[in-house]
Amino acid sequence: MISPVLRAFVEPWPWYVAGPIIGLFVPGLLLVGNKMFGISANLRHACAVALPGRVEFFRYDWRRIGGWNLVFALGILVGGAIAGQLLAGDAGTNIGPAARESLAALGVRDFTGLMPRDLFSWAALATWQGLVMLVGGGFLIGFGTAYAGGCTSGHAISGLADLQLPSLVAVLGFFAGGLVSTWLIMPLLVGG
């Protein structure tokens, strides 16, 4: 028997709660420190920290420019741990029956976690499908977001909220790429 207040924290949050909170990060970070909300800059900062080499793109004062954002990313990890450990209600994702049906038809068997365990595990790295999804997918994320100058947070949320045309072009690209992966590439990888 848990209190209704606690239950509200434990159960999955609906879009109309989560979306506005996420939106408030844009003015929040501006008001706190004149920072633009955008996560993928951390990938660039990580390069600047670890291996700037002679690449001009990574030769800047990452402590001054990216320190706050690296700490923000660390916070995301901590927040994920807190929510996963303390606020986890029923495990699994509450996707609708339509998505469940088409993913099952695709060959997905495990619907209990945040992702199909057989596709996202260390063992999956031994398969070519796992390599394409985890290594290839990750590489495309990093290359694409650096090329486009932002990811879902920087372009789709910060950029579109500021009515920036370049962000709209980038977001249309995000969706074009996502649809190609989902509808054309994924069937070759899952259950294939």
Partner: protein, 195 residues
Amino acid sequence: MVIKEHSGTRRGDDIGTRSARRTRDDRTPPSSGAPTSAAATSAAPVHAGAAAGAPSPRGLAIYLLLGTLFGIVLTKSEVISWFRIQEMFRFQAFHMYGIIGSAIVVAGLALRLIKRLRLRALDGQVIVVPPKVLGNGTRYWVGGTLFGLGWALVGACPGPLFALLGNGVGVMLVPIASAIAGTWAYGALRPRLPH
């Protein structure tokens, strides 16, 4: 540095007084007078905000707190779920569209308010949102499409990647590492790529 931060906090308190703000506008330059760094002059500057120096540990604590809140929201709203991303790209639920859409609306209204009231950040600097330059748009549609291909393959974008790691999905270290490698590859190839 420390002195500057103190006075900045004090100035941040009277954000609502318009006349006081105007007089300060006259003497405060819109950006720091420090010489522009290599990053600032390059075609793709890192947004540094208006702060001139590295923030203090105490200044960083608030970003840790905000990041933690963000990680909790991403997890509790199932944005970090591979299934939710698949559902979105299959147009089978409103959930993700509702989240992204309402986030844009709320952020957009807040930005309008910030600009109209010419609000200042806690350090006293006027808030500026640097505009992006479209150019011929190549970098945005090519880079965006490549990112989208990866987003749907992994089922997570950069924020959720970190949140998933926190949720105990250790194998997410692999896409994080290869995303960093991908960013590095872009940095190395950048002079030869069309933008």
